[in-house]
Amino acid sequence: MSMRRERAVKLNVINEPKDSYTGGPSSLCPGCGHDLISGMIINAAWENGVEPHRIAKMSGIGCSSKTPAYYLGQSHGFNTVHGRMPSVTTGAYAINKDLLYLGVSGDGDSASIGIGQLIHAIRRNMDMVYIIENNGVYGLTKGQYSATADVGSKKRKGPSNELQPIDLCALAINLGCTFVARSFSGSRKQLTSLLRAAMSHKGFALLDVISPCVTFNNNDESMKSFSYVKENEMTLHMADYIPHFNPIEEVDVPEGHYRDIELHDGSTIRLETISEEHDPSDAVAALTALHEADKGAKHVTGLLYFDPTKPSLAEDLDLVEKPLLDLEDSELRPSKESLDALNSEFLS
């Protein structure tokens, strides 16, 4: 630690340099939006002062699911099978509920093959951050439309997409997901705040991040191209995250123009209202905002819906306080006397 100080490296609240949160070099296409998100994950985890080894990086299959190799090199991770990351995370969580589960997925992973698992993880209010790096195409198999591609989206070659897109935020709100946000990989400030808030949330935090594919879906006909999103993004509100270890006064937002939402660990997400009021506890308002944006062929970003009151999977499982991982073998195997008693009970 002292060495680091001498070199004047900036440390976070747990005295870790940002280097402790970085990963290997990316092998994605140069300019990929996913790499921006990886950078923001690193920032958010560092700024939140999460112990890097207490994070579990989970993913499925696809371009997005490769990214856990590019951040949080001190965390264990699991690059599972296509679309089935939620179930693996659920099993791991049952054994060790004290880790911060950070799932990264794509629109192929989450809106098609894995939509069932996504839905059921939301239904269980599984304690995790679930980031969808949404670009409307299957990148790793070279550009097929995904189920989130907008009507009229056009690839470089071949016919345009005429099927209805699945709006994962609307789906999540309807399912009662307890934290639903949409953002854009180019919105560094907003996305970092949302990521930090999602990491503090107890329950399922879904972040649908529009992350243009620079190789297969960056032409003007696509509503998920970089330039289109840049021009047609409606920010619901600017978000600022105030961690539980910072006094709120330090944050510079004019009073009367924001709304504070307290998170599970005592942190606050401060939503600075831009034009109209959006009440994130109002599911109808959230769905209205999504539909309004859709009507205008725009993307609405920000914290759409939030409900801190619902019990998470931990409460539902009703387990002992310690993570099951930390129990002694003698606690897990009932005594010989108990088996003797059972045997005689069966015999009587």
């Binding site: 089935r84 659920t90 099993g91 054994i95 059921h120 009703d318 099951l324 073998d329 069966f346």
Partner: protein, 596 residues
């Protein structure tokens, strides 16, 4: 007419959902309590109410537990199967039938016919519950005909309806009414009866699935993820039922998490997640579920994640005969998932082994860091079998090669998740959250350090280390059960629930003039003793309950060339529990071919 005591088969034909199961269990328990060697098999449909169901009670002084070749006593309550059931009877059989059955009668002259107005008698006792009570009436009539002890019946009724006074009284009243009707209106003219045997029963009846469930509880299972499917659901439900008593602390908090998954894919994913996190995770399913889990099974094998899968085999392919029994998932389990794979399969053949393999599967999966399957079947899993009591695990929990402390970790000269440090093919692992050797687990190719690699040598070495690891497990897995006398030239190799038919098959073969030795395989990959058994015998029959001889195929692939010609397949399956004569006849035929 010569009396037949304690040596016959009773077939009870009823409709599903009419409460006949409790009537049949009362019969089973009371006969058992009398010291009569008896076994019961439930042949039920995939249906909640209305379809035909049969219950077969085999009484056998030789201790045979397979359904016999024929029914000696037929109880007929179900009009839907009436004609077929009646036609199938051999002359001299006994027919106890509900004479209140519309348009049905027993018009055969060559059987002993006992008409009982079961519905009318039942209505006289409780008109609302007449349908249920009808079944208890035949219990009473049969008790009178065979001489089943009323005290034993009372005990069995009490056991069945634990503490529910009104149900107990109603059932006993119905039994007495059936008895009384027979005594006052009919005369015993058949040769069959039961006799009390002077043995104190130190055994109890229990289903294989419940035994597996208890085994898992005592194996320190920490997470159960499951999706309902016949015939495995009662493993999961058994675990759930025992958690409050055996796996809950003084505050009512459990140390075993149960998650009912959205499908079998998710259940398998959860099992892998639990194993990856360092816990003991399991699922219980049947063939269709294993089909769905294949992708995760390959990942568990390749990324070396402890995971336990119980397969209670039913008849496939597809939905197949979902409530009938078969040994047809052997190959699917052993070589599950795409690519080159090979998995450890534990195969219990007795109720005691269901318990033992229940806890051992967790030790095994953590020791070898690979998926471990328990292979049971509907016959073993869902029928009640006599059990002498469960033995407490003989060894402490084996958590395998997990590095939990930093000093231990630092002591390694070099450490890599997939580095074969000990030369036994089993690497060391660290757990998420520990901060030691963090790696990204993956289903893609990786080198010994756990880093992504497509290098030819890395892939080739990895696959061969995995093979070595599984091969090294052979002599550590449960050894086969051998039954050998002297100088028999023929060996019978079999597995699982065939255990309950093998003695009878053996005796019939002896009648046919074949003296045989027996070897019951209890695990795959097969134990070295299996190979020596085959080597010792001139010919070995591989006996299994399926069409294709799946175990035979595995043996042929793995045995040394000179032994391949010594193994011969006898495989047969029709959905019913194995009837000894069918298999003995097929073995006889095969031996005539090969011993020339």
């Amino acid at each position: 007419m010569e009396k037949v005591i304690n040596d016959f088969t009773i077939n009870i034909a009823t409709a599903n959902g009419t409460g006949s199961q409790s009537a049949n269990l009362i019969l089973l328990e009371s006969l058992f309590d009398m010291g009569v060697p008896v076994s019961g098999k439930n042949l039920f449909p995939s249906n909640i109410s209305g379809l035909p169901t049969w219950y077969i009670l085999r009484l056998s002084e030789n201790g045979y537990q397979a359904p016999g070749d024929r029914a000696h006593i037929q109880i007929m309550v179900n009009p839907d199967t009436w004609d077929d059931d009646l036609e199938s009877l051999e002359p001299g059989s006994v027919v106890i039938w509900n004479s209140n059955t519309k348009n049905k009668t027993v018009d055969r002259e060559d059987v002993f016919s006992y008409p009982i107005p079961m519905t009318k008698l039942a209505r006289g006792i409780n008109s609302k519950l007449a349908k249920l009570v009808t079944n208890i009436i035949y219990v009473g009539a049969l008790a009178e005909i065979l001489g089943i002890d009323q005290d034993c019946l009372n005990l069995a009724v009490n056991k069945q309806f634990k503490g529910k006074e009104s149900a107990i009284n109603l059932n006993i009243q119905a039994i007495l009414s059936g008895r009384e009707y027979f005594r006052e209106n009919l005369e015993k003219i058949d040769p069959y009866s039961v006799a009390k045997r002077d043995i104190t029963q130190s055994k109890f009846f229990i289903e294989g699935n419940e035994a597996v469930a208890l085994g898992c509880i005592y194996g320190g299972c920490q997470m159960l993820a499951w999706y309902p499917i016949t015939p495995s659901s009662s493993i999961a439900e058994g675990i759930i039922a025992y958690i409050p008593k055996l796996r809950t602390d003084e505050n009512g908090k459990a140390n075993l998490a149960v998650i009912q998954a959205e499908d079998e894919l998710a259940a398998a994913g959860m099992v892998l997640g639990a194993g990856w996190a360092g816990g003991r995770g399991m699922t219980a399913t049947s063939g269709p579920g294993i089909s769905l889990m294949q992708e995760f099974i390959g990942l568990a094998y390749f990324a070396e994640i402890p995971s336990v899968f119980w397969d209670v085999n039913r008849v496939g392919p597809s939905t197949g005969l979902p409530t009938r029994t078969q040994q047809s998932d052997i190959a699917m389990l052993y070589e599950g998932s795409h690519g080159d794979t090979q998995h450890i399969v534990l195969i219990p053949g007795t109720i005691e082994e269901c318990f033992e393999f229940g806890w051992y599967a967790f030790d095994c999966t953590e020791r070898f860091q690979t998926p471990v399957f328990g292979l049971s079947d509907l016959d073993l899993g869902m029928n009640k079998w006599a059990c002498a009591g469960f033995e407490y695990p003989s060894i402490d929990m084996d958590r395998g090669k997990v590095v939990r402390e930093r000093e231990v970790f630092e002591a390694f000269e070099t450490f890599g998740r997939y580095l074969d440090i000990d030369g036994d093919g089993i690497p060391y692992r660290t757990l998420p959250g520990s901060g030691m050797d963090p790696i990204l687990y993956r289903g893609t190719g990786h080198n010994p350090m756990g880093v992504y690699s497509e290098k030819p040598d890395d892939y080739h070495d990895l696959m061969n280390r995995l093979k070595k690891k599984i091969d090294n497990s052979r002599d550590k897995l449960p050894a086969p059960i051998l039954r050998e006398g002297e100088d028999a030239e023929i060996g019978i190799l079999y597995l699982g629930s065939m255990e309950n038919s093998i003695q009878e098959i053996d005796d019939i073969l002896l009648d046919f003039g074949h003296n045989v030795h027996q070897c019951r395989i209890r695990a795959l990959p097969y134990h070295p003793e299996v190979e020596s058994f085959i080597r010792r015998h001139k010919a070995t029959i591989v006996l299994e309950i399926n069409r294709d001889g799946q175990l035979h195929g595995i043996l042929r692939k793995e045995l040394p060339d000179d032994l391949v010609t010594k193994v011969h397949s006898v495989a047969y399956s029709d959905g019913l529990p194995p009837r000894a004569r069918i298999y003995a006849t097929l073995i006889d035929k095969k031996l005539k071919e090969v011993m020339q």
